[in-house]
């Protein structure tokens, strides 16, 4: 073995180690992340030694039962939760806190009730995109509101909007700062089925408008939602010390049609698989004498 080959081999090993971090197509790399909280009863470990890589432009869902730590895992990506051990790399940089490259949509809209729809988005843009001029900021807010068809409602307070509209404002707010990564924490959980369906389509529209370049990570407990939107579904074990149980790919062509997709054999197969992973027992055991 001459020195040239040795060098190539070493190079290859180095590359394979660094690849998940350095490859330009990697948007998010979760490396061996554990999150523990100190409680009165002692240390509670929500998620344990989780590793996950998300490609640029990919939509993935984190799914699992309540309290399985999916929101916590998401929090480590957004920077709202600090990992106890391990690290998260987003856009090639270690996550140290929330940043404008990652837009967050919270579970309960989290709009400021004393600000109008317009001001809610403007204040976020004003803070996150500091190098824009006031004029550019206003233009950006106007353009965003028009894209999500909320321009007519710009002067309303959140209290006067329906749940679906509130969530559209929250999503518009996250999109307005033009993040490369969008993080959605059970975004549609509080909506009725019809509104939910419309919102799925709207979300994908926004994603398409941007040439499908944004990476989206979504926490959900809705299997249909996860399949319709995602490229991969990450199924988590029950907490405490939750880990990834399995990552299920969703090999369905895009654009996906909400009505047709449910009859697709691939859809049904994926649906069954996810259901099996999430629910252990399908029937109640017969009562034995």
């Amino acid at each position: 073995m001459n020195s040239a080959t040795t060098k190539t081999v070493t190079q290859n090993i180095a590359d394979s180690i660094l690849e998940p971090v350095l490859t330009p197509s990697t948007a998010i790399a979760v490396n061996n992340v554990t999150v523990s909280f100190k409680t009165l009863k002692g240390t509670y470990t929500a998620v344990k030694e989780i590793s996950l890589t998300v490609q640029k432009g990919e939509i993935i869902s984190l799914i699992g039962h309540s309290g399985c730590g999916k929101s916590t895992l998401m929090g480590t990506i957004s920077g709202m939760v600090k990992p106890t051990t391990g690290e998260v790399i987003a856009n090639g940089k270690k996550v140290e806190g929330p940043g404008p490259d990652r837009g967050i949509v919270f579970q309960n809209y989290s709009l400021l009730p004393w600000l109008t729809v317009y001001r809610n988005i403007y204040e976020a843009v004003d803070s996150a995109l500091k190098n824009l001029s006031k004029c550019e900021k206003k233009e950006l807010v106007e353009q965003t509101l028009k894209t999500v068809h909320l321009w007519d409602h710009k002067d309303k307070l959140p209290g006067h909007l329906s749940g679906g509209m509130k969530q559209r404002v929250a999503i518009a707010r996250a999109f307005a700062i033009n993040p490369t990564i969008l993080l959605l924490d059970e975004p549609f959980g509080a909506l009725d089925a019809l509104t939910k369906s419309n919102m799925h389509v709207e979300l994908l529209k926004l994603w398409n408008l941007d040439n499908r370049e944004k990476t989206i990570v979504m926490v959900t407990h809705d299997i249909e939602e996860a399949i319709f939107l995602s490229d991969r579904v990450v199924v988590m074990n029950n907490g405490p010390e939750a880990t990834i149980k399995e990552i299920v790919p969703v090999p369905l062509e895009r654009p996906r049609n909400k009505k047709d997709i449910v009859h697709d054999p691939v859809y049904m197969e994926t649906h069954d698989k996810l259901l099996n992973l999430l629910i252990d027992k399908f029937s109640i055991d017969d009562i034995k004498e």
Partner: protein, 260 residues
């Protein structure tokens, strides 16, 4: 609209009924004391007499309106200064557990002290009785605002805090766009309680301090001047002004309460 008018009409009827009840009892007391306590009609005469030229402002005699304004001015200055300190301090206490733990015992010790006890201290510091009254108002209007503001600031929901964190709000933006709007209804509750206390205390303070003001009027012209009628007139004016101040702050409070 019509329902609203009917509701307003009824509340007016109840108000008049309450007033008639008060006047009836007052008249009865007057009869029992054989005129020692003047009857409502006699008091009305005194009221008209007091109200002639109310804003007279001569060195030897001040009208009742002038006295009222001077009392209000002292309350305004003391209350304003107190609020100017209580609100920001309330923000600090509400945001920092450490600050709360340090300051709270001090507040708990000073708060139950009768406002009048601060008067001689103010007199010792300022060597001037009107300033001492202002100092007394200042101290007593601190506590309700401080306690309510810090409670409001400490109960900001995590959801709102998350917004500030997620979008990188500056400290100034956090204070003006999240903390202040959320806390505003609590602040107004505190201010309303404070102005109520301040208005009660000013009368007592002016009895001690002398000079001009409603409290001095009650003491000097009413009691020392031997006119119970004037005392009654002053009581009614003090009550009416207190009610108006309370209504003013209630409407401000309503104005700044937002729909969630």
């Amino acid at each position: 609209m019509k329902a609203k008018a009917i509701k307003l009409g009824w509340s007016l009827v109840y108000f008049v009924a309450g007033m008639l009840l008060l006047l009836g009892m007052w008249d009865m007391v007057s009869r029992i004391t054989k005129g020692e306590i003047p009857s409502p009609i006699a008091t009305w005469g005194t009221f008209k007499e007091v109200m002639t030229n109310p804003f007279q402002n001569d060195p030897d005699y001040k009208g009742i309106g002038t006295k009222l304004l001077s009392s209000l001015a002292r309350v305004g200055i003391g209350f304003g200064l107190g609020s100017l300190i209580a609100i920001p301090l309330g923000f600090v206490l509400g945001s920092s557990r450490i600050a709360m733990n340090i300051i709270n015992p001090i507040v708990q010790i000073l708060r139950p002290v009768s406002p009048l006890a601060w008067f001689p201290l103010g007199l010792a510091i300022f060597q001037d009785s009107p300033k001492a009254s202002i100092f007394m108002i200042f101290i007593c209007s601190l506590w309700p605002t401080l306690i309510n503001t810090s409670f409001g600031a400490s109960s900001i929901p995590q959801d709102h805090k998350n917004v500030g964190k997620a979008f990188g709000f500056s400290v100034w933006k956090y204070i003006t766009k999240i903390m202040l709007p959320y806390t505003l209804p609590h602040i107004f509750t505190g201010l309303r309680l404070s102005i109520g206390v301040a208005w009660m205390v000013i009368v007592a303070g002016e009895m001690l301090s002398g000079g001009i003001g409603l409290g001095y009027f009650v003491w000097e012209e009413g009691f020392n001047g031997g006119s119970v009628g004037k005392i009654l007139v002053a009581i009614l004016i003090i009550g009416a002004v207190g009610l108006l101040l309370d209504r003013l702050f209630t409407s401000l409070q309503k104005r700044f309460t937002y729909a969630v």
